[in-house]
């Protein structure tokens, strides 16, 4: 199986550690990933802001880069949802590829058939199911099943977990006041758990919540799920 890593523009540019964790994790499980250098962005920001033509160019570029792979795995639930839901609508010929694109937890659970990935993470962690993972991708409890198998972890429920954190891409700028109000409630819920780590399957939402957490000096760090799953006793995250 030829597996390609689609890191997404945000992770590639801002969160390289998430990509490195994906590579480590998948190699540890006996699979190799390629990183096709032609990749850039799935087009979500442009589509969601109304710039459809720009988005279409990016969709075509994505199809050219990843067309030859058996599976594409990505650490962003929202980009995976964009590819699966929107790419076929924007460029109908890409629909075959869209179904071969998997978000990390789907890839682990459904394609590789594992939930125990041999991880070790001795911290109190709470998990935020991002809206796109929940309602567009329908990843269900896959992330939690993976987290539950992590050794040493103290996994605590997040109150009102399914509530949107208020990120929403350019929504965070265009409706900054409402976005901040939503974020404040999410931050309060996170603090209520007493967890020192907030994790999610999307760094974009974590960037937003994390930005408010550090601003308020909450003492909670945000970590992508991949980094927890890649963490081991020998090489802790």
């Amino acid at each position: 199986m030829r597996v390609a890593l689609f890191l997404t523009c945000v992770n590639d540019t801002m969160y390289p550690e998430t990509g490195k964790a994906m590579v480590r994790l998948l190699r540890r499980l006996g699979h190799d990933v390629e990183f096709p250098a032609g990749q850039t962005c799935c087009g979500q920001m442009h589509l969601n802001t109304g710039y459809r033509t720009q988005a279409k160019h990016l969709v075509k570029g994505f199809a050219e880069t990843f067309g030859g792979y058996d599976a594409v795995v990505t650490p962003s639930a929202s980009c995976a949802a964009m590819i699966r839901d929107w790419h076929p609508r924007l460029a109908p010929r890409t629909s075959g590829l869209a179904s071969r694109v998997h978000e990390l937890t789907e890839f682990l659970v459904d394609v590789l058939g594992v939930t125990d990935v041999g991880a070790y993470y001795p911290h109190r962690v709470t998990y935020h199911p991002t809206c796109h993972s929940l309602r567009m991708l329908h990843v269900g409890d896959r992330p939690l099943r993976l987290l539950k198998e992590v050794r040493g972890i103290d996994l605590v429920d997040l109150p009102d977990a399914a509530e949107c954190c208020g990120f929403g891409g350019t929504f965070a700028l265009k409706n900054a006041e409402v976005s901040a109000a939503m974020c404040a409630d999410k931050v309060a819920a996170v603090r209520e758990t007493g967890a020192g780590t907030l994790c999610a399957a999307d760094n974009s939402c974590l960037m937003h919540i994390g930005g408010a957490l550090t601003r308020t000096r909450a003492g909670v760090r945000t970590v992508h799920l991949a980094e927890i799953l890649a963490s081991t006793e020998e090489a802790p995250a």
């Binding site: 540019t13 801002m14 969160y15 480590r24």
Partner: protein, 490 residues
């Protein structure tokens, strides 16, 4: 009307309003989820509701003609109104023809949409709202902020103050106990019902096969209005049709559970034309287009016309919960308002151009909608229309074009990443960015922004051959441990 973000700013800062809304929507949200979970065929019902509505919309001309025929056969009179002004004119003329100068009203979204009460007032006709929440809004010289609970932004003590101030027959020393408030309203309204000769109603469903109109309500005030007066004028959007009585069954399950979280609403009134000695002697039906035909022409946007105004999408919407209903600048607030108003009114005004952006696209509305309107899809579709319609946001357009140009080429993206990495010591000496320039400042008002990492993933992959020439991948490349990641205590 100010654009959505400007109107929302005030609401977000209003703690009392936020408290009222969070409490009311939170309660109804949980109850709705429980009421829906009781039915194991909910998904099938939802699909039926969707298909019935889609079928009607695809054959709207046919069903409208059939409805007209049947209503006329039953002794009613059908009027066609192209827009709000025409609808209001028709109603005003009908009222004047009776010689009356007062009407009682059954809660109606269509007449909110046309601004009927104001139009009637200009003709010297007083319209009295009889739905309790509408009454509160009317007496408070206020605007509705919710489809189903127009006074959701008010709490008990607000209501007592309004009644004391504006209701001439309010009892002395009225308290804010719900039973007392309801009793005061009941007495006030009873007098109106008994004297009213003309009533104006909305319509939840119109059955094309029989010419039957249907109103669902909780209080019974609607039924009083529909039965006591001599003349009844009902105003409905052209999309409110169902083909047959059998189809009603689906909606009588979908609507109450979605809106009030009840298995069945307390009052369901149906009426067909006129019957000597029973109910109004004169019945008029006004069929309102007001932008609906144009909405129907839009392949993606037309699904908004399936809406049965249950308000489930409002109650689950995190944006509505913070911004309140008034920020949407229309009688249709919340997610449905964000897609319906810009379609029926056009995207010309500031508020209508801003509405498609009044969502984080979290998808909760789609999940809750009993007729499966893909609201996020329509929002994204309307955003594209807002962008195509003109250079409303030249800065944004330039930024998006530049971003698109950069992202279209891996080489250009890599260059941009190198520039970002090189600037990290300057823009974020302590690992976090506390202030971004220009429009991006909207981000850093309340949130830090991450500093760019020392090296992008792409650069790391190229330098280390995918980590193969580096003993252990992480940390090594980043000297202070920040890769744009949140770390406290710097």
């Amino acid at each position: 009307m100010p654009a959505f973000p400007d109107a929302a700013r005030e609401a977000v800062a209003d703690t009392r309003l936020r408290g009222n809304l969070a409490h009311a929507t939170g309660t109804i949200r949980e109850r709705r989820a429980a009421a829906v979970a009781e039915l194991d065929d909910w998904d099938a019902l939802r699909e039926s509701g969707k298909q019935i509505k889609d079928h009607v919309l695809a054959n709207l001309g046919h069903y409208l003609r059939r409805l007209e025929e049947k209503v006329t056969e039953a002794g009613g009179t059908v009027h066609w109104a192209r827009d709000a002004a025409e609808a209001n004119r028709i109603v005003a003329d009908l009222v004047k023809a009776t010689g009356e100068s007062e009407v009682v009203k059954v809660k109606s979204m269509a007449t909110q949409e046309t601004g009927l009460n104001e139009a009637l007032a200009e003709e010297g006709i007083a319209a009295y709202e009889t739905d309790l929440a509408e009454l509160i809004v009317q007496l408070g010289h206020d605007r509705p902020s919710h489809i189903l609970v127009p006074a959701i932004h008010r709490n008990r003590s607000d209501i007592r103050d309004i009644f004391r101030r504006e209701m001439p027959d309010a009892p002395e020393g009225l308290t804010d106990a719900p039973a007392d408030l309801a009793e005061a309203a009941r007495r006030h309204l009873r007098a109106k019902f008994l004297s009213a000769k003309v009533a104006v109603s909305g319509v939840n469903f119109a059955v094309a096969d029989t010419g039957t109109l249907v109103v669902l309500e909780s209080e019974g005030n609607g039924r009083m209005c529909l039965t006591l007066p001599e003349t009844l004028i009902s105003v409905m959007g052209v999309e409110k049709i169902v083909p047959s009585m059998r189809d009603l069954e689906v909606f009588l399950q979908l609507l109450p559970r979605s809106s009030t979280a009840e298995r069945m609403n307390p009052y369901t009134s149906t009426w067909t034309g006129v019957h000597p000695g029973d109910g109004p002697r004169d019945f008029h039906l006004v069929l309102l287009d007001n932008g609906r035909t144009e909405t129907l022409a839009d392949e993606v946007g037309r699904q908004a016309l399936r809406c049965i105004r249950c308000s489930a999408c409002l109650n689950v919407c995190p944006v509505y919960e913070r911004a309140g209903g008034h920020a949407y600048g229309s009688p249709y607030p919340g997610p449905i308002g964000a897609i319906l108003s810009p379609q029926i009114r056009g995207i010309g005004s500031d508020v209508d151009a801003s509405l498609p952006y009044a969502s984080s696209l979290c998808g909760a509305c789609f999940e809750a909608c009993p007729v499966a309107i893909d609201i996020p899809e329509v929002l994204v579709h309307l955003r594209a229309r807002a962008v195509e319609d003109g250079p409303r946001h030249p800065v944004e357009r330039a930024a998006m074009t530049a971003a698109g140009w950069t992202l279209r080429s891996p080489a250009r993206l890599a260059l941009a990443q190198r520039l970002a990495s090189a600037s990290r010591r300057i823009v974020a000496p302590r690992g976090r960015i506390r202030r971004l320039p220009g429009p991006l400042n909207a981000w850093t008002e309340t949130r830090d922004a991450p500093a760019p990492p020392a090296e992008s993933f792409r650069a790391w992959w190229a330098r280390t051959d995918g980590g193969r020439t580096e003993p252990r991948a992480p940390e090594d490349g980043t000297d202070d441990g920040t890769d744009g990641r949140t770390e406290e205590g710097q």
